[in-house]
């Protein structure tokens, strides 16, 4: 079971919403589309659903070209960021609606709605109308409608974005379980890197209408192919700074130096961009291979379990993320330590310097 996008593009007037895209999605695990707002996640999802036609290219489903096939005939499910349910029907009728359209027997409808409602813990709510449900229950109803249809392609477009934090966590844990062993291709769009990591599976990082990388989620996180992917797949944003490599040394801002080790050691001398995830920039020395930065603290965010400091260094803003509550003072010069063994190096073309 695969969904394939072959050279798909989407133009709107003079704007390119999706640049030429090739993608093969399978049933193993979630397929996460990760990107900021306007990166093209929803456009891709609409084309996968058949709600919009690609401007060029083809969409193949299970070895068949479905490019011109409308959404009604594609057997797909879609769950939106907004809680979309039929307001005049109760939860039972809402969940049953895809089966009613498919003209299933009364017994089958009752049995399957019962099962699906139990799966989503909606059984006590079956008689209520959507307006009488909490946001989480409304979105569960929408999910139940998507699940009961038994479609081969389930598209989830930021389904948790409008839920409050607790509900989001709860439903996010449930989601992989709901679609386990169903043989469905699940596409999940999100703007949060942490959500992609929690859901696992495969991730496609999207930036300005381009898929910058597609592969196993953990791999895409650990070894982003280029700087843009690393930026998309990092929250707080990844620190990036220009460095030069001279002989066995990496030099930043003229005075910060560290020995070139690992992949960068074999790379030719020249200009590179170093990328350091914020949790490798810490106020305490974490490893022997740490380089010291003196930064002026601009903004601090304390969440209790972790502290985030934005500091300026040679005109650039850096972000440091560490455990616990740190005694940061805005305006002070603070020492930060960078674990250089965790640095990613990108060449002039933005590509990762790899072994």
């Amino acid at each position: 079971m695969t969904l394939e996008l072959r050279n798909v593009t989407k133009l709107a007037g003079a704007d390119t919403h999706i640049h030429e895209t090739n993608l093969v999605l399978a049933t193993t695990g979630f397929n996460v589309l990760l990107g900021a707002t306007n990166a093209g996640k929803t456009t891709l999802i609409k084309m996968m659903a058949g709600l919009e036609r690609p401007s060029s290219g083809e969409i193949w489903f299970n070895g068949k070209n479905v490019t011109g096939v409308s959404a009604q005939k594609r057997n797909v499910s879609l769950v939106h960021q907004f809680f979309v349910n039929y307001a005049n029907m109760n939860v039972f009728e809402n969940i049953a609606s895809p089966l009613r359209v498919a003209r299933r027997s009364k017994q089958e409808i009752e049995r399957r709605v019962g099962e699906t409602a139990a799966l989503l813990r909606l059984t006590p709510m079956l008689g209520r109308h959507p307006s009488e449900l909490s946001g989480g229950q409304q979105q569960r109803t929408a999910l139940a409608r998507a699940i009961i249809k038994d479609s081969v392609l389930v598209l989830l477009d930021e389904p948790l974005a409008n839920l409050d934090y607790k509900l989001r966590e709860e439903l996010r844990d449930e989601l992989p379980r709901l679609f386990e062993d169903r043989g469905t291709i699940v596409v999940y769009a999100t703007s949060e890197p942490s959500e992609a990591l929690l859901l696992g599976g495969h991730t496609a990082t999207l930036f300005e209408g381009r898929i910058t990388q597609f592969g196993e989620t953990a791999v895409a996180y650990r070894a982003p192919q280029d700087l843009v992917t690393a930026q998309v797949f990092s929250d707080p944003p990844i620190n990036a700074a220009k460095v030069s490599k001279r002989g066995g040394e990496v030099i930043m801002n003229g005075d910060v130096r560290w020995p070139a080790e690992g992949v960068i050691a074999e790379a030719p001398d020249g200009e590179y961009t170093v990328g350091v995830r914020p949790h490798y920039v810490t106020p305490q020395r974490q490893s022997a291979a740490a380089v010291t930065l003196d930064g002026e603290i601009l903004v601090t965010e304390l969440s209790g379990s972790e502290s985030v400091a934005h500091f300026s260094l040679a005109g650039k803003i850096w972000v440091a993320q560490s455990h616990g509550v740190q005694p940061y003072q805005v305006g002070e010069i603070h020492k930060f330590f960078v674990d250089v063994s965790r640095c990613l190096y990108f060449g002039a073309d933005g590509a990762l310097v790899a072994a």
């Binding site: 609409k46 979309v84 005049n88 895809p98 929408a142």
Partner: protein
């Protein structure tokens, strides 16, 4: 117990009290006063009790006007509400044509009511009016000043032309408030256009349609100006609706007592019907 007395509060309420008094209470009570008395002029009044009310409710003339009124309002509602919704459904939801359509729709609502009557009067003239001449040239004998059926036809056509726009605009407002996500969800569910209308558009339009029905009911029930200018209630009494009859009694014959009684009955009927409509239509939301 220490209670502060502050009479100044009355000062703040006074303007509103005066406004409501002169605007609503005093005129209404004057009408109530007239409705229970008989006068022969010279400001001499005789106590009549509920006599006028009894006479009126029994009178053939009033019952006939009421029947005409009910038939008229029923016809108006059954034409204008579905027609308005249908037009709203065909209007574009985005693009440059939206404003064109909205202006076209708003035009009839901007014309003064007596002008509407005068326009249609000329429009329907059998010799020179576009409508009258056209119908007659089709071989149909049409003259609204002589034939009650023709008069009804013209009055209803005029009201539909004048007021369907209001329903269209209200229904349209309800329609454009529906997010695209609902249509997409319906598409993905494989819903047919009728199902989309029945389960998405109609429920979302319910609130505005309630208002539309209520407004059209009240307005058509009180219709006066357009019909007065168009037919003057004729031919005969065939288009004499309640308010036309009321004015004939009150000003034409200067029967203040019966006219006042009639006003009150009329007022209570409108109020009652509006309340019933509203309660029935919002019943489901109260759950």
């Amino acid at each position: 117990m220490n209670k502060t007395q502050n009479q100044r509060a009355w000062l703040f309420v006074a303007p509103v009290l005066a406004l409501v008094a002169f605007n609503a209470l005093i005129p209404l009570m004057t009408v109530v006063n007239y409705s229970v008395q008989e006068t022969f002029g010279n400001n001499i009044f005789f106590w009549q009790g509920v006599g006028w009310f009894e006479d009126l409710l029994r009178s053939d003339r009033f019952q006939a006007a009421l029947a005409r009124q009910l038939v008229f309002t029923a016809i108006i509602l059954t034409i204008e509400i579905p027609l308005g919704v249908a037009i709203a459904l065909t209007m574009p939801r985005k693009g440059p044509w939206v404003s064109v359509c909205l202006v076209l729709m708003a035009l009839p609502l901007l014309i003064p009511w007596n002008v509407v009557g005068a326009m249609w009067n000329i429009f329907a003239l059998p010799e020179v009016g576009l409508l009258g001449k056209a119908i007659n040239s089709l071989g149909i004998d049409y003259n609204m000043t002589r034939q009650p059926m023709a008069a009804w036809f013209t009055v209803i056509l005029m009201d539909v032309w004048h007021w369907t726009s209001l329903v269209v605009l209200l229904a349209y407002a309800g329609l454009i408030a529906i997010p695209d996500a609902y249509y997409q969800a319906a598409k993905i569910d494989g819903a047919k256009p009728w199902a989309v209308f029945r389960h998405i558009q109609l429920p979302k339009m319910k609130q505005v349609l309630t208002i539309a029905i209520l407004l059209r009911f009240i307005d058509s029930f009180m219709i006066y100006t357009e019909v007065f200018v168009l037919t003057g209630g004729g031919p005969g009494n065939s288009t004499t609706f309640l308010s036309i009859d009321l004015v004939k009694v009150a000003l034409g014959q200067f029967d203040l007592g019966p006219a006042a009684a009639m006003s009150l009955i009329y007022f209570i009927m409108t109020l009652l019907a509006s309340w019933v409509f509203y309660t029935v239509m919002t019943r489901n939301d109260a759950r």
